[in-house]
């Protein structure tokens, strides 16, 4: 499973009968629960997630693999170019100045795009290609369009 800070997903199923799945289930992390990745520790092995009901728990990124998740939202910066894969801009997590800047460049909520390049980011939209810096990409939260 791809993971990135600030990514949100919904658990579809827990494919695991080992201790890990069992414990999560008893804690109320069940199919249908929403999960947000808050931070990824040094060298990526330990992650902190917040489940939708608010509890913060530490897990291993590898173990998240047993969870079958549906991606709900992810920062643009975590994505890579992929032919034909479309995303929609869901929200911006920046201040007023950032919102204004995005608006001026025609990057708006609900804009649908495809990633052509990722350094720097070039997004192909209906109205042409937009370039976005890496720092900016972290503040643009997108969702997959299927």
């Amino acid at each position: 499973m791809m993971i990135a800070e600030n990514m949100e997903c919904i658990i579809k199923s827990v494919n695991d009968s080992s201790g890990f799945g069992e414990r999560l289930i008893q804690m109320g992390v069940l199919p249908g629960s929403k999960m947000r990745i808050v931070r990824i520790g040094f060298r990526g092995s330990t992650v902190e997630v917040v489940v939708d009901e608010g509890q913060s728990i530490a897990l291993r990124s590898k173990e998240l693999d047993v969870l079958d998740c549906r991606l709900v939202s992810i920062p643009l910066s975590a994505l890579t170019p992929e032919q034909g894969k479309k995303y929609r801009i869901k929200k911006f997590s920046g201040g007023q100045g950032f919102l204004q800047k995005m608006n001026d460049r025609n990057v708006r909520i609900s804009t649908i795009f495809e990633i052509v390049d990722d350094h720097p980011f070039e997004l192909k939209t209906e109205n042409g290609v937009i370039a976005v810096g890496r720092g900016e990409a972290e503040k643009i939260i997108v969702e997959p369009v299927d």
């Binding site: 009968s17 414990r23 008893q26 931070r39 330990t46 608010g54 913060s56």
Partner: protein
């Protein structure tokens, strides 16, 4: 009213981890159970007493558990207790800011048939977050009395007691709640419940509850009084019904049961709370941004540990010096008194140079220990413990262990015994054993005293704290090095699933911190006044007998023992006097300090300085750091591992590694010309 008229009943406090069970327990009974802000502080069931208007209550504080289907040892303790020896009454606690997660267990318990009241704790935090809770709605749905409380301050405790009394007197106030389940499950439960009704093995527990437990976990309680044949039949039925429902629903039975419970919980939360609040709160978020930072987090952990140590040292050692001086003054004053002059010199020396000198030096560490545990409990009660575990998880993972095991190792720096018991929060036996083998290499507070004592004598005042710091570093490195060593010998932990709750930061209360420090000091004073004194007296006798030889000389019994062991210890620069101290150090490390004082007699510092070089002293400290911490630790390892082999391995590992490391230090130091 007298005790005789009182009816005795048992009430158990049960809830998910870190909701304030022990805090409430302490408030109700006036006991001093350890409280800390992470999941898994209590790993044993503890009992206490209080009086409740006509009832003599035995209150049981249980470890935290998410459900009666256990996934670790502490949870097994809970489910065994609740299912096999049900209490008369349950107090369940809900964390006001985390109701959904708490309610899973609440709903399970409410169905058990054991009368119950629910306490909604942490109301102070909920109020601060602007959260409103509809207690009436909760109470209606759960079918029992619900009381908002703040266990920390005692707010709402009287109301809670009242609710318990009312429910005890009028059982109709309590009725198991309804949980909606898929029809297949419902039918299976009804079928099973009927069968169980027939054998009626358990007068207390609700039959539907037993039936659901059976379906959920597939395990039958041990009903010794029921005919084996009938039980086997029921087991067969359960298997059949489980298979049928799992087929029908396409998922694990335990998932289905949890789903039913948590769906009800979610509905209840939606109905009873005004708005969903963001847990973790702003304060926690802001702190975590810094403390758990990807790059700065780990260095910050070491800096925090270093500052703590500096603080303990800076505050504790001057206080220690004052008490130490006081005892020295007292000794010389007593020697001059008429009473002691009239005694036989052997007796007066035993009392003054033996007992008073030895025990006095140990007791002078009293303030240092107090400051140490005050700082330690700040770490435990603030919530930083779980953060440390998060940061170190990666490193622990390379040993096949995880961040939770690191919590135990960190606890070892206070005292090894509770740290070893604390390994119950680990889910596999294998990982528990490895952690248990590593904990004895932590620099516990008793060893700390030896190092403060010796380094102050052997090194300049500006160097001494650095020597102790270096020993902390050595201890930390050794824990990991030995972890790798064990892995090399295929002794490593199997990578275990790692799930650890990260609690919100809380400001530690004066109460918990002082209780914690006080309990540690009490046990320190107890040790000091009993077997540390005994050990010191023994050492004094050994160094003064047989009659006629020069006290403290090689001709005494101690000298003979030391000489006998000399071949083993001379390669590591440890003389016969220190060997005696090390032997008694097996009992408790504090005795090492006491024995040194007794062996070297009055004016200990000058005497030690005259016969031990700094290098020899450092080698001695390395040995003290790494060999068996104390008898209590060995006993804890034996009782937790239930294996003499593991206990033996731990002993041997400590002695061998201590010797090898001291050898490297001493011979290396000699080569380098120290």
């Amino acid at each position: 009213m007298t005790d005789m008229d009182d009816k005795s009943i048992t009430i158990a406090i049960s809830s998910i981890p870190n909701t304030g069970k022990s805090t409430l327990f302490n408030k109700l009974t006036g006991a001093h159970q350890a409280v800390g802000n992470w999941a898994g502080v209590s790993v044993e069931k503890k009992s206490g007493h209080f009086r409740l208007d006509g009832y003599d209550v035995t209150l049981i504080d249980l470890p935290g558990a998410y459900s009666v289907t256990p996934t670790s040892i502490e949870e097994t303790i809970v489910s065994n207790y609740l299912l096999n020896t049900p209490p008369d009454f349950i107090i369940n606690i809900i964390d006001a800011r985390n109701m959904y997660r708490s309610l899973g267990l609440t709903l399970q318990l409410a169905q058990s048939g054991i009368p119950m009241v629910v306490a909604v704790n942490m109301m102070d935090e909920a109020r601060r977050a602007g959260m409103k809770i509809d207690i009436k709605a909760l109470s209606n749905h759960l079918g029992c009395k619900v009381v908002p409380i703040v266990a920390r301050t005692g707010e709402g405790i009287d109301e809670l007691k009242n609710a318990i009394l009312k429910t005890l007197k009028d059982p109709s106030l309590f009725r198991p709640p309804n949980i909606s389940r898929p029809p297949v499950v419902e039918n299976a439960i009804i079928t099973l419940a009927k069968k169980i009704e027939k054998i009626n093995p358990d007068p207390v527990l609700n039959k539907t509850f037993i039936a659901e437990r059976l379906l959920d976990s597939g395990e039958l309680p041990k009903y010794t009084q029921v005919d084996k044949k009938i039980l086997e039949e029921i087991v067969k039925d359960v298997k059949h019904l489980r298979a049928k429902t799992e087929m029908n629903l396409g998922e694990d039975m335990s998932v289905t049961c949890a789903k039913c419970r948590f769906n009800s919980a979610r509905g209840l939360v939606n109905e009873a709370t005004s708005e969903t609040i963001r847990v973790p709160d702003k304060f926690t978020n802001a702190l975590d941004k810094v403390l758990l930072n990807k790059y700065a987090g780990l260095p910050m952990f070491f800096i925090i540990m270093f500052l703590l140590f500096q603080g303990i040292y800076a505050i504790g050692t001057p206080l220690q010096a004052i008490i130490g001086d006081f005892f020295t003054l007292m000794q010389s004053a007593l020697h001059e008194t008429v009473i002691f002059k009239s005694l036989h010199p052997f007796i007066s020396n035993l009392l003054i140079d033996g007992v008073l000198n030895g025990a006095g030096i140990v007791i002078s560490f009293f303030p240092l220990i107090a400051v140490f545990f005050i700082f330690m409990s700040l770490i435990e009660d603030s919530g930083y413990m779980a953060r440390a575990a998060f940061l170190l998880d990666r490193l622990m993972h390379s040993l096949g262990l995880d961040g939770k095991a690191f919590i135990n190792i960190l606890l070892g720096y206070g005292c090894n015994v509770p740290a070893i018991m604390g390994t119950r929060i680990l889910s596999s036996r294998h990982n528990r054993i490895i952690t248990m083998l590593l904990i004895p290499f932590t620099l516990c507070s008793a060893r700390f005293q030896v190092f403060v004592f010796l380094s102050a004598i052997l090194f300049a005042p500006s160097v001494a704290p650095w020597v102790v710091t270096a020993l902390y570093a050595v201890s930390f490195i050794m824990v990991f090095a030995i972890g790798f060593l064990l892995k090399l010998f295929k002794f490593a932990g199997k990578p275990e699933p790692f799930i650890m709750e990260i609690p919100p930061f809380r400001v530690p209360t004066l109460n918990t911190v002082s209780i914690r420090a006080w309990m540690e000091m009490k046990s320190f004073l107890y040790r000091a006044s009993t077997f540390i004194v005994a050990g010191v007296v023994l050492v004094w006798l050994l160094t003064n007998l047989p009659f006629g030889v020069e006290p403290g000389s090689i001709n005494t019994w101690a000298g003979k023992i030391g000489q006998f062991l000399q071949p083993v210890f001379s390669p590591i620069g440890i003389g016969w006097r220190e060997v005696i101290a090390l032997i008694f150090g097996f009992v408790a490390k504090e005795i090492v300090v006491g024995s040194m004082a007794v062996i070297y007699g009055a004016d200990t510092a000058t005497q030690i300085l005259a016969s031990i070089t700094p290098l020899k002293g450092f080698s001695f400290m390395i040995f003290t750091l790494l060999y068996t911490p104390c008898i209590a630790t060995i006993a804890a390892i034996k009782s937790e591992s239930r294996s003499w082999r593991i206990t033996g391995i731990s002993l041997a590992l400590g002695l061998i590694i201590a010797w090898v490391m001291a050898f490297i230090v001493y011979q290396g130091g000699l080569l380098l010309g120290f």
